[in-house]
C-alpha cells in the first residue's frame, strides 16, 4: 500500500545514466512497473494492456525536463492518461430531463451496496428539492424491502408500501402508477442483487427495464472488486443497459482500479461515489483523485478533507497562530495530540500522504502505535496547569509525581519533554524565519502535503 509508483520507477530510472529524451527501452522498463502497479490496484488486465499502449506512445521520445526526474515525468503522463480515461469532466450528475416521474433503476451484484446507495441517492435528490419515491423490488433477500422502508423513514423519503408476495415486475408497475398519482419527480427502483451469469435474474432485470423505461440505470459496484469488474460491467451493460456507475465503499483502503476497468469497458461515466453506511448524500466523482489513488500516489485532497472534517478548526487555528508567534506550550501539544487521535488510524492516514513509501520501513520499525498518543496525552494530563504553561519548571520531583499520576515511568515523561523541546525549538525557528520557512525545518517529506494542518514530528 505504501510503495508508490514514483519510487518504483525512480529505482528503474536510477539505473539509467543518459538523460535527454526517454528512449524506447527506458519506457519499456517503466511500463512493466506501471503494469504491475495497475494490476495491484485491481485494474482489469485487458484495460491495463490498452492503457499501457496508449501511454507508451506518449512517453517515448518525450524530452526530459531538467527540474523533474524521468520517473516523475512518466508518472505524470500516466496520471494524466488515467484522468482522461476516467472521464475528464467531473461531477456529472443524473440526467433527469424527462416527463416526471422519472424512473431511476439501481442494479448490481449482491452486496454491492444498492439499497444503501438508493437511500443516499434519494437524499441527494431530496436536497435538490425533488419529490422522490423509492421502491424495493428485492423480493429475494430476507428483509431487503424492510431495509429500504427503514432507510426511507430515516431520511424522510416516501417508500412504496410493501405487499407481501408481489413479483418484482408488478412492484415496478405499482411504483410508477403510485408516482404518477402522487406527483413525484423521481422514482428510485432498488432491485435485488444478481450475478451477471444468472441468466434468469438478468432477464428479470431486463423485463423491469422494459416496464419502466428508466432514464438512468445505475450500476452499483463495490470499489473492492477485483479483475471481475470488467466482466460484470460488460454483462450488465449488454443485458440491461447502464447509463452510469456508482462506486461504493470508496472509504475502504482499496485502490479502486475497478472504476477504471468499468469506465473503459462500458464507456459510461462514474457518476457518484458512496462512502460509509450512514445515509448521507452521495459524493461527486473526481477523476484526478481516483487516478492518484490507483497509482498509489496518495490522496492529498481526501486527507485534507478528512482532516477538515475531524478537526476542530478554531482550535487548530488558535494553535497555528501561537506556533507562528513562536509560542508553543504543553497545552498546545495536548491539543495536537487530541486532534491526531481524532483523525483516526495513523497508518491509514499516512497512506494517504504522497511519498510516504520511503518512510514505510522507518514507520514499521518505529512501530508507531496509536496508543503512544494516548500515553503522551496521559502524561500531559497529569501535569498541573502551571507546569503545562511552563514546562521548564518540571524537575526531578515533579517528574516523579507526573509519572505516578499517569502510570508511566520517569523515562516516558522525559521522552515527552524532549519531544516537546524539539517542537518548541522548531517553532522558535519558524518565528525567526517567518512564514515561508515553516516547512524548512521539518524532515523531508513532511512538507507541503500537510498544508495548514498542525504538524507533529515523530
Amino acid at each position: 500500500m505504501f510503495d508508490t509508483l514514483t519510487e518504483k520507477l525512480g529505482a528503474v530510472f536510477d539505473r539509467l545514466s543518459g538523460r535527454g529524451t526517454l528512449s524506447e527501452s527506458d519506457v519499456d522498463t517503466a511500463m512493466r512497473e506501471i503494469r504491475i502497479a495497475l494490476l495491484e490496484a485491481d485494474v482489469a488486465l485487458p484495460v491495463v494492456r490498452d492503457f499501457i499502449e496508449k501511454v507508451r506512445g506518449r512517453a517515448v521520445g518525450q524530452a526530459v525536463v531538467k527540474s523533474v526526474s524521468p520517473a516523475q515525468m512518466v508518472v505524470k503522463i500516466v496520471h494524466d492518461a488515467l484522468v482522461e480515461t476516467l472521464g475528464g469532466e467531473e461531477g456529472e450528475g443524473l440526467d433527469l430531463a424527462a416527463q416526471p416521474p422519472v424512473p431511476v433503476l439501481m442494479v448490481g451484484l449482491q452486496g454491492s451496496g444498492k439499497t444503501t446507495t438508493s437511500a443516499k441517492l434519494a437524499l441527494t435528490l431530496k436536497k435538490q428539492k425533488k419529490r422522490v419515491l423509492m421502491a424495493s423490488l428485492d423480493v429475494y433477500r430476507p428483509a431487503a424491502q424492510e431495509q429500504l422502508a427503514l432507510l426511507g423513514k430515516q431520511i424522510g423519503v416516501d417508500v412504496l408500501p410493501i405487499i407481501v408476495g408481489e413479483k418484482p415486475a408488478a412492484i415496478a408497475n405499482r411504483a410508477m402508477a403510485e408516482a404518477r398519482r402522487g406527483g413525484y419527480d423521481v422514482v428510485i427502483l432498488d432491485t435485488a442483487g444478481r450475478l451477471s451469469v444468472d441468466l434468469d435474474m438478468m432477464a428479470e432485470a431486463a423485463e423491469i427495464r422494459n416496464i419502466v423505461n428508466p432514464k438512468e440505470t445505475l450500476l452499483v459496484v463495490d470499489a473492492l472488486t477485483g479483475q471481475d469488474a470488467v466482466g460484470v460491467a460488460r454483462e450488465f451493460n449488454e443485458k440491461i443497459g447502464v447509463t452510469g456507475i456508482v462506486l461504493t465503499r470508496i472509504d475502504g483502503d482499496s485502490r479502486g482500479g475497478a472504476a477504471l476497468s468499468m469506465k473503459a469497458v462500458t464507456g459510461r461515466p462514474i457518476k457518484f461515489l458512496g462512502a460509509g453506511e450512514k445515509i448521507e448524500a452521495l459524493e461527486p466523482f473526481h477523476p484526478d483523485r481516483l487516478a492518484g489513488r490507483i497509482l498509489g500516489m496518495g490522496d492529498v485532497v481526501s486527507l485534507v478533507e478528512t482532516a477538515a472534517e475531524k478537526m476542530d478548526k478554531d482550535e487548530a487555528e488558535r494553535v497555528a497562530k501561537r506556533m507562528m508567534e513562536g509560542r508553543f506550550d504543553l497545552n498546545d501539544m495536548l491539543s495536537q495530540l487530541h486532534q491526531m487521535q481524532q483523525m483516526g488510524d495513523l497508518k491509514s492516514m499516512l497512506g494517504l500522504l504522497p511519498g510516504m513509501g520511503r518512510f514505510k520501513k522507518q514507520i514499521d520499525e518505529a512501530n508507531i502505535d496509536p496508543k503512544v498518543f494516548k500515553r503522551q496525552e496521559a502524561i500531559i494530563l497529569s501535569m498541573t496547569p502551571v507546569e503545562r504553561r511552563n514546562p521548564d519548571i518540571i524537575k526531578a520531583s515533579r517528574k516523579k509525581r507526573i509519572a505516578c499520576g499517569c502510570g508511566l515511568s520517569v523515562q516516558d515523561v522525559n521522552r515527552l519533554l524532549k519531544q516537546y523541546e524539539q517542537v518548541a525549538d522548531m517553532m522558535k525557528k519558524v518565528k525567526k524565519a517567518g512564514k515561508r520557512g515553516l516547512f524548512g525545518g521539518l524532515p523531508a517529506g513532511f512538507g507541503g502535503g500537510f498544508g495548514g494542518m498542525p504538524i507533529f514530528p515523530f
Binding site: 485487458p46 451484484l109 452486496g111
Partner: protein
C-alpha cells in the same frame, strides 16, 4: 448428483474465461516466452495476483520450457500446483462438542455475505440435530436484525436481538447468557459489516470479543471471516487487518458461482496460512460446502475428471 459434480457445476461458469484464456494462449505448440507471459496474464485475470501468477508460470517454465504442450496439459499442470498450494489450508470447521455453546463469530466487510452464511450454516447444524442460537449483533444496518430473524425461522432456531442502534457488545453478553442457560450446542454471533481500515469499527469488534471472553474465556471458538469472491487485491488488507483485530481462524468464500474466480485465495493461503473452511457456490442452503483444494483447482481449470474417483 455427486458432491464433486455439484461444486464443479457451481464453478463451471467461474472457470470458463480462464479455460478459454489458456486455450487461446496455446496456439503454438511449443512453450515459449510469449506463451508464458500470456498464461501469466490469464492467471492474473483470475485475481491470482501478479506475484503468485509469476510463481506458477515460473514453475511451468522450468518443467516444460521449449517442449510441446497442449492446453489440457497446461491446465492439468496448473490444477496440480494450485491444489498442492491450497491443500494444507482445506480444513473444515470442526465443532468441539465439549464446548457448550461452541461460539462462532462471523466477521467481514459489508455485503460479503455474513448473515446469509450464518443462516445456511445454522440450517445445516439444525438438520444434524444440534441446538443452535443466533445473536444479531449487527445492530447498525437497517433491517439486518430482521434479515437474520428470517433465517432463524427457516432454520428453526432462536434469534437474540435488540433494536437497531443498540450496543452490540451488550447484546452478545445477553446472548451468551441465554445460550448457556439453554444448553445450546452452537451460538453464532453475526457482526455488522465493517471496512477493515475503520479503526473505530475494528475497536468495536475487539470489544465484542472481550465481552465474549469475559463470559467464556476460550471463546470465540471459531472466528470466520467471510470474503466475497469478487474481491480483488484488497482481500490481503481485509484478511490482515481482521486477523489483527479478531484472530480469524478460518475463511469463508462466498459468491463463487458468479463470474469471479476467487483466485485471490491462492495468494491469501500463501500469505496468511488461514484455513478455508467453506465456500458458497449457489443460493441454496446445500450450496455452502466444505472447501476441497483438489476439486477447487480442477474445476477452476475446467477439468471434469477428478481422476481418483
Amino acid at each position: 448428483m455427486s458432491w464433486f459434480e455439484k461444486i464443479k457445476n457451481g464453478l463451471a461458469r467461474t472457470a470458463a474465461p480462464l479455460v478459454e484464456g489458456i486455450g487461446a494462449m496455446l496456439t503454438k505448440r511449443r512453450l515459449d516466452k510469449d506463451t508464458l507471459t500470456g498464461l501469466e496474464d490469464v492467471l492474473i485475470m483470475a485475481d491470482v495476483g501478479a506475484k503468485t501468477a509469476a510463481e506458477l508460470v515460473g514453475e511451468l517454465g522450468r518443467e516444460k520450457f521449449g517442449k510441446d504442450v497442449t492446453d489440457g496439459e497446461v491446465r492439468a499442470f496448473f490444477a496440480d500446483k494450485i491444489a498442492e498450494r491450497l491443500e494444507p489450508y482445506a480444513r473444515p470447521l470442526v465443532l468441539d462438542e465439549t464446548k457448550k455453546p461452541f461460539v462462532i463469530l462471523m466477521v467481514g466487510v459489508n455485503g460479503a455475505g455474513k448473515t446469509t452464511t450464518i443462516g445456511k450454516m445454522a440450517k445445516s447444524f439444525r438438520d444434524k440435530g444440534l441446538k443452535v442460537r443466533l445473536a444479531a449483533a449487527d445492530t447498525f444496518r437497517a433491517a439486518a436484525v430482521e434479515q437474520l430473524k428470517v433465517w432463524g425461522e427457516r432454520a428453526g432456531c432462536p434469534v437474540v436481538s435488540r433494536e437497531t442502534g443498540a450496543d452490540a457488545a451488550g447484546l452478545v453478553f445477553d446472548a451468551i447468557t441465554e445460550s448457556q442457560k439453554a444448553g445450546d450446542d452452537v451460538l453464532f454471533v453475526d457482526t455488522a459489516g465493517r471496512l477493515q481500515n475503520k479503526t473505530e469499527l475494528m475497536d468495536e469488534l475487539k470489544k465484542i470479543i472481550r465481552i465474549v471472553k469475559k463470559k467464556i474465556p476460550d471463546a470465540p471458538h471459531a472466528c470466520l471471516q467471510v470474503l466475497d469472491a469478487t474481491v480483488g487485491q484488497n482481500a490481503h488488507s481485509q484478511v490482515r487487518l481482521f486477523s489483527e483485530a479478531a484472530d480469524v481462524t478460518g475463511l469463508v468464500v462466498t459468491k463463487l458461482d458468479g463470474s469471479a474466480k476467487g483466485g485471490v485465495l491462492l495468494a491469501l493461503a500463501d500469505e496468511f496460512k488461514k484455513p478455508v473452511v467453506l465456500i458458497g457456490v449457489g443460493e441454496k442452503i446445500e450450496d455452502l460446502q466444505a472447501f476441497d483444494a483438489k476439486d477447487y483447482a480442477l474445476s477452476l481449470m475446467g477439468i471434469s475428471d477428478r481422476g481418483d474417483k
